[in-house]
Amino acid sequence: MKLLTFRKGVHPKEFKELTEHKKIERFPTPREVFIPLFQHVGSPAKPIVEKGMDVKKGQVIGESSGFISGYIHASITGKVKTVDTFLHPLGYSDKMVHIVATEEGESKVIEEKRDLDKLSGDDIVSIIEKAGIVGLGGAAFPTHVKLSPTRNKKIDTFILNGCECEPYLTTDYRMMIEFPEKIIKGIQIIMKALGIRKSYIGIENNKLEAIQIINGYIKDYDNIEVSVLKTKYPQGAEKMLIKAILNREVPAGGLPMDVGVIVNNVGTVAAIHDAVVYGKPLIERVVTITGDGIKEPKNLLIPIGTLVKDVIEYCGGLTGNKIKVIMGGPMMGIALGSLDVPIIKGTSGILCLKDDKGFVEKVYPCIQCGNCVSVCPMFLIPTRIAHFSKKALYKEANDYGILNCIECGSCSYVCPSHIPLVQYIKIGKFMVNRLNKKE
C-alpha cells in the first residue's frame, strides 16, 4: 500500500518507545491548582470568581470574552485562594485563579447526561463552547470557532488528526488504543453538527496498533475511513494533512475551511465526546511526561492547572543536574524557565532532556547549503527570510512569504550551521503582522 504524505519535511528520531506502551494513568487530585484565564488563541477569559469563594470541580470560573475566546472551569473542588498574576508556561506572568483543594480524595464533576438525538448542530457547538474546548494538539484554537464556519463555506470533510508527528509524544496514540469508541463517537458528533458526509482518520504508520484498533471499530461505518500516513514531520500540520489525505491545497493565508475541511486532533475529539455525552467540561487532559531526564516516563491524565513541579515529582523527579524541561514536543515545544508553572489546555507533553550531548551548539555562518529550502513543507526559503528578519527588512521578508511559515522548525532542525532560523522567522512574523496592522 502506498503511504500518503506531503512533499518535503524531515524524519526526526522518534523516541516514542519511552511511553508508547504505558497505559494512561490518572494523576491524583493535586492540593492546589493555578488555572490561567488565558489558555487559548484569542482573548483571555473574564474571571467570575473571587478570593474566598468555594468552587466545585467543573464549575465555570472564567467566561468567554469575545468571539475567539474560551470558557475556563475549576479542575478541582476547593476554595479560591486568590485571583492574581503568576508565572505562565509561555514565559510571562498572567492572571490565574489559584484554587486550594478542600475535599479529600476524588470529587465528582458536575455532570448531566444528554440525549444526542435531540441535539441540533447549533446545540452541539454551543455545548462545546460552554465546555471550554480548545484544540489539544498544542495550538489551542477555540474549537467552537473552528466548528462555526462562515455560511458561504460548505464543509464536506472532517479529518481526525491522529498523526502525533512530534517525537516523544504518545498521548494521541494511547487515547486511540484505550478509548477508540469515544473517539469514533466524537467524530460522529462533529459530523452531525456540521452535516458532514465523509471523515478520514489520519494516522502515521509508526502507530500500527492504533491503526488496527481504530479499523476494527469503524468496520460498520462506510463514511469513516483510516488513512495511513508516512511517518514524517510535520505530518500533523493541518495543511500538510489535508494535502496528504485529500490532495487539496489550503490557499496561502487561508484556513482548512477554505477547501471544505475541518481538522481536529484526537484529544480534542475525545473532549468533545465527553462534553456532549456526559456534560463534562475540559478540566483535565492527557499529557506525556517523558525524556531521558525523568525517572519514570508516563502518560498521565492531569487536571488543568496542576504545577509542572508536582507532575515531575509524581514521575520520580528529574535525573541529572543540568536539564531542559520542555512543554510540548521537541520540535515546537517551549523550554520552561521555572517548574512553578501550570499544565494548561494546550500542554501535550512535558519533555525532560538531560545535558549529555551539550545543549549549546556552535553557530556557523550560513553556508548556503539549501537544506532548509529542501525541507520546508511550505516551500519557503527559510535562510533568506531569517536573514531579512534579522536585518529588520520586514518588507522583503513579507515579499518572500514570511507569514506562510507554520513555525514547524524543520529548517532549524536540518541547519548544519545551527542558525536558529525559525526563531528569527517567528520574530519577523510578529513584526510583519504588527506593521500590516498599522497600515
Binding site: D355, V360, P365
Partner: protein
Amino acid sequence: MDKNKKNRLEEKLLFLSPSPHQKSGESVPKIMWTVVITLIPASAMGIYFFGLRALWVMLVSILATATTEAIIQLLRKQRVTVYDGSAVITGLLLALVLPPAIPFYAVIIGGIFAIGIGKQVFGGLGYNIFNPALIGRAFLQASFPVKMTTWTPTILQQKSWMNAHKVSQATSNAVDAITAATPLGSFKFEKTLTPYIDLLWGNVGGCIGETSAIAIIIGGLVILFLKYADWRIPVSYLGTVAVFGGLFWLINPQQYPDPLFHLLSGGLMLGAFFMATDMVTSPITPLGSWIFGIGAGVILIIIRLFGGLPEGVMYSILLMNSVTPLINRYTRPRIFGERK
C-alpha cells in the same frame, strides 16, 4: 509535599533555548571533513600516477590555505576556525587542479590567493561568491601560464616509454623534463583520441586529481548519497555537456569529439562533483541548481570547442558562480497554497 524534596527540585539548573530541541546532528565541520574524505580516492590516484610529488603539492597547498585563513582571522581579531575543514578543502581542491610539476612557490601563492582573495575578503566562510580553489587556480593560470600548462606523463606512461625506447633508469630521469599532452590538448591540436579506459582509470597527463574519472565518481556518489551536494548540479552539468557536445559531434565527428570523451577528459568530473556543487557558491533553490548546471555545461562546450585553451571547466564554474545570487533571486519556489 515535604520540604526537602521541594528544595531538591529547585536546585536543578534549567536550561533555556528556542525550539526545536532536537536536531539532525549535521554540522559544518562534519560536512567539510566528509568532503575531504570523499576526495581521498581522487587524491590517492593522483599520487599513484604522478608519484610522491603530487602528495607534496597537496600538503603544501593545504598548509598554505590553512595558514592564510588562520593569519587573516587573527589579524581581523576573529575566532580561528581552521578546524572546520573548509580551508583544508580549498587547499586540497586547489592541489588537485594543478599540474604535478608545478613549483611549490606557485602552489603557495595560489593557496594564499585562494583564501585571501577568494574567500576572506568577502567575509569568510559562507560569504564568498566564487569557489576559492578555482579563484586560486585562475590566478595561477593568468600568472604562470607556461607552468600551468606543462604536463608530465604518468609513472606508467614513463615506464612504457622506457620499455619502448629501451633506455636505462639513469637516462630516464630526463623523462621528468619531457612534457606530455593532456587528452583534451591532443584532440584539440592533433585530433588524436585517448583510449577511454585510460581516461576512466586516469593513466593520462593532466592535473593531479583530475585524471581518474572512476576515483572521482566514487567519492562524488558518496557526497550525493549523503546529500552534501545537490545531485541536480552534476546531473545537469554532465548531461548538458553530453547533449550539447554530442550535437556538435553529430554535425562533424572529425572536427569535434564524442560525448563520452567530453565527459571523461579534463577536469569535468572533478568540477561537476566537487567544484560546481560547492554549497556556498551554488544556488539554494532546486530550479536554480538545474539552471546552474545547464549554464555551466553550455559554457564549457563553447570554451572547449572554440576557445584558445583546450579546457573550460574552471571558467564555466566561475562564470556561473557570478550569476548564482541572481539565479537564487529569480527561482524562488511557489509557496504552498500560492496561486501564481
